[in-house]
Amino acid sequence: MKLQRSSRLALYSVLELASRPDEQLSASDIAAKFNISLNHLAKVLRDLGRARLVEAVRGAGGGYRFCGNIRRTTLKDVVEIFEPITLHDAGGFEPGDSTEFGASLAVVLGEIDDIALATLDSITLETMLKLTRRIQKQAVTS
């Protein structure tokens, strides 16, 4: 599965902000860490703001901070802001869809979608932060 760039930037941003709840980070801080375009990131942060997952703190020392609930917000919640999660029929009608093989293929692709959806919907930001810490710890000890 490959996520669109906006979804990935959004996930990186909310995870970075959620991992540092007592700080406000500038868009350029986040862009520099992940080596991403500041312009693109600004659009992503604006969409995350509309979704009430991040908020901008104005003034000296201002920046962005996470304002959602890390125990409740899932990867699906974030990705859905930027792209449809159900992949196989997201592009509308495709040639061959109405044939017998198209119908069979739709069943198989639907199975993959269901698993992807359940995975993204069951992983909260808090779980992702735990996973990140565990992977970092394993990298240090190995």
Partner: protein, 165 residues
């Protein structure tokens, strides 16, 4: 919104092996969650898993001397070709105590029992629509395993499975 448990609340929860006297509460709790009364199933489960054995565990969580959850699991060897591992196949928490750390304490306890038996991996299986419980297991560090459950409706096949003629 229910607040996550603090450490004092968690320390008020105890986990012990289930007893025959717990059966009525276990049946009622499961019925409350699943909407299906299964007294015979739980009576048999408690008989099979309730007498503390090294490989089978039926645990209940208590808060203020009241059962607020239960977990059932066992060690299975070469299940689906996998080496001996711990399997958790039932986890139920009283909805009134959710986010109180009950499931975490029960899961940690059963994992500790598995560890003491020399087990290195714990498995479970969950309906992919049951996002609440799946999210809990993932929050504990569980990831998708190497096995994929498959199933079929027997009624879809008039003759033999695989015969699509």
């Amino acid at each position: 919104m229910t607040k996550p448990a603090n450490n004092d609340e968690k320390s008020a929860i105890t986990v012990r092996d289930a007893l025959t006297d717990d059966l009525a509460r276990i049946i009622a709790l499961d019925s409350q969650i699943s909407g299906i009364d299964k007294p015979e199933y739980w009576r048999e489960s408690l008989r099979r898993f309730g007498s503390r054995q090294e490989e089978r565990h039926f645990l209940v969580a208590e808060k203020d001397h009241h059962i607020v959850g239960f977990i059932v699991g066992e060690i299975r060897a070469w299940e689906f070709g996998t080496p001996p591992g711990g399997w958790v196949f039932s986890l139920t928490v009283d909805p009134d105590t959710r986010l109180g750390g009950v499931a975490t304490i029960m899961f940690n306890t059963i994992c500790q029992r598995f560890r003491q038996a020399g087990i290195k991996k714990v498995h479970t299986m969950i309906d992919r629509d049951n996002i609440t419980v799946m999210a809990f297991f993932r929050s504990q560090g569980m990831m998708a395993g190497s096995t994929i459950p498959l199933e079929m409706n027997l009624s879809d096949f008039a003759t033999e499975p695989g015969d699509i003629s």
